[in-house]
Symmetry: C2
Subunit: 200 residues, 2 copies
């Protein structure tokens, strides 16, 4: 930081630089934005920020963020009870919910196995998933971890340890994204799309 | 927004999406970050945000952000008094200060002339600049508005209306950025670099 900058601005820039993907330039741009924003809007943002610390909890069943002990999805009687879709974090859940393609329940691992980050199976919500399989009448487990190295490692690990339960285990399909262009797809995606081909 | 998301999180995502260059995905990512951040750090950020509304003012001389009536630069006796560097906003001032190449005073226009955004000379702090030229013993005005269409328009406008004062007027130099590669430079920059060539 440079010494000639007003202290309240500098304090804010320092705090903003702690955010993910916010470097010095973005922090300055944001601070400049806030300096020109109505106090009312700043208050609303602060209220929302404090709100997630005071009113946001983790669902005791699936680990999703929730404003009550049990989240909206777990307490929704209209959802299919015996299928659990396992995801890495809540953003994956949102992505799947937005597709409107799934009506079962979820289980949030709270991360993916990542040896380079020191995250092993013991750091994930796997024990609670096993408890659910034992206590709820689960018929199918859909492993919807990300299609990358960590997601794949986690899926393989889950497949292995869950094999002792007599339930159907599935993995979300690999293939070409809809609206995509074959020309630009990478080799691995194309080979997965061919392996996963379905009759029409 | 989707209906199954916890309200405190949704409220925060809505507020975050009001920030410049923050779309739904970035807002989600930030909200997720805040949900996993210590309350202490959230309080610090909120404190800094409220601070810029309660403790940040505009310098009555140059228009720079300041925690007092007159900013650190205007009240700094060690700085050269008779040169004023005119910039669009405070981020330009920070950029110049960081270079340590300038030891005079500043004047912040609070924007640039931009007909497409409905910003004309009457919306900028030009009257206060004229007052300074009349009252302070200004020798030189460096027009350091951005090297783009709006910055150039503003520079030309200032050059025209300030011509009635008997002061030296300069424009920051155009040319190739240091460490840059001629091969990648655009034609206009190269032609400006040739026109602005200096004896070695």
């Amino acid at each position: 930081m440079i010494e000639k900058i007003a202290e309240p601005l500098e304090d804010l820039i320092i705090e903003l630089m702690k955010l993910p993907s916010v470097g010095p330039k973005s922090a300055q741009r944001l601070a400049f934005h806030f300096a020109n924003t109505d106090k009312k809007d700043i208050d609303k943002l602060c209220h929302a920020l404090i709100g997630i610390k005071e009113k946001l909890f983790k669902c005791s069943i699936c680990g999703n963020f929730s404003e009550s002990k049990i989240c909206k999805i777990c307490s929704d009687k209209s959802r299919i009870n015996d299928i659990i879709c396992v995801v890495g974090d809540f953003r994956d859940l949102i992505a799947i919910e937005k597709s409107h393609a799934y009506k079962g329940k979820y289980h949030i691992l709270g991360g993916l196995i990542s040896p380079s980050d020191g995250i092993g199976p013991e750091n994930l919500n796997i024990k609670s998933l096993e408890d659910r399989i034992e206590n709820e009448k689960v018929q199918e487990l859909i492993i919807a971890t990300n299609p990358n190295v960590n997601g794949e490692t986690t899926a393989l690990y889950l497949a292995k340890i869950m094999s002792k339960y007599k339930i159907k285990m599935t993995r979300i399909a690999y293939g070409l994204p809809v609206g995509y262009n074959l020309e630009y797809a990478d080799d691995i995606t194309i080979s997965r799309a061919i392996i996963g081909r379905r009759e029409i």
